[in-house]
Symmetry: C2
Subunit: 198 residues, 2 copies
């Protein structure tokens, strides 16, 4: 049960966002910009950074929903299962996963930001530059990892409800990838009893 | 030296905010709402929650600037020195500091959010309710502590420059308290050589 009384049937962050629409506005705008705004990093890469940070923070809702969004960005329905497995591999051990050397270097930075800002070293930054990362890409990686250190704490600090079954997150991830985080035309409402079949 | 090339002379978060105006907008709007928006918690109380979280994250710029803002909210110039000492006392040991039992209960929640969302217990929440905290106050405390876990990581994850001398933060704290976080009419620019005399 959540620590405060939240609107029924809204999983994870969507409960507190509906509870407090004033703060939801900048929180949604920030996610939209960071994950879907114009960028030299693809939305798939940025969702992977968000997913990895959320997994390091042990936030079930965020890592599963953003992992599903990343998988949707990576390819069509026929590739979805393979891409979900790829995301799981990145979360487990990104250094040996089949991703670019640049994304590995950025995930290394994100992992250090998750531990604390001062954990980011000049060596971490030098590695990212060697792999071709720009100042803006390094900035955005730090801010995505910092922002998800906020979203993860918001979701778990209020003990929000979230479906446990990964399948429930597949249509949610599709909406996040295709419609984004601002003014979603259809809410993510999920009756608890039907969560796994949505 | 900062990890990326930031505009000169802008301390702490103001450097990366100027570097990336797109993301600055929701980041500033969120701080404004959380710390100065309409609320049953005073701005002093909310700045104290931000300051305490930042001190637990060992972020020098954020804890000193928001500590100065809190001191400005607590009283006029003649009380400033005493209020700065009070903030230092809260950071050191809030449980024995001369603040309300409700604020102590909220700082206890904030400290647990800083460690990780799952560290917040039903006992933490029950204590806050016993001391009169509402659902919205608990929500806002969790979100302030989560948001400063982001701002702190953003500031330190990019290794931004910040003056070390606490006096340099007094006029900055006054501007934060009086003018707020959005569209500040005068920038916080500080020539490095004069930082302590600004």
């Amino acid at each position: 049960m959540a620590h405060i009384t939240l609107p029924e049937g809204l999983p994870g962050i969507t409960g507190p966002l509906a509870f407090r629409p004033e703060t939801a506005k900048p929180l949604r705008a920030l996610a939209e910009l960071l994950l879907r705004g114009p960028n030299t990093l693809s939305s798939a890469e940025r969702e992977i950074i968000a997913t990895y940070t959320s997994s390091q923070n042990d936030c079930h809702f965020c890592q599963t929903s953003h992992g599903a969004a990343a998988a949707h960005h990576l390819g069509g329905p026929s590739e979805l299962a393979g891409n979900l497995l790829r995301i799981a591999e990145i979360k487990r051990d990104f250094e040996s996963a089949p991703i670019s050397a640049k994304l590995k270097a950025l995930l290394n930075i994100a992992g250090h930001v998750q531990q604390g800002g001062k954990r980011v070293t000049t060596e971490d930054i030098a590695r990212a530059r060697t792999e071709g990362a720009t100042d803006t890409e390094i900035h955005d990686t730090v801010l995505i990892a910092a922002a998800f250190s906020m979203y993860n704490r918001y979701v778990d600090g209020l003990a929000t409800w979230a479906p446990q079954d990964e399948e429930a997150y597949i249509p949610m991830g599709a909406r996040m990838a295709q419609q984004g985080y601002v003014d979603a035309p259809q809410p993510n409402r999920m009756p608890r009893s039907e969560a796994v079949t949505v």
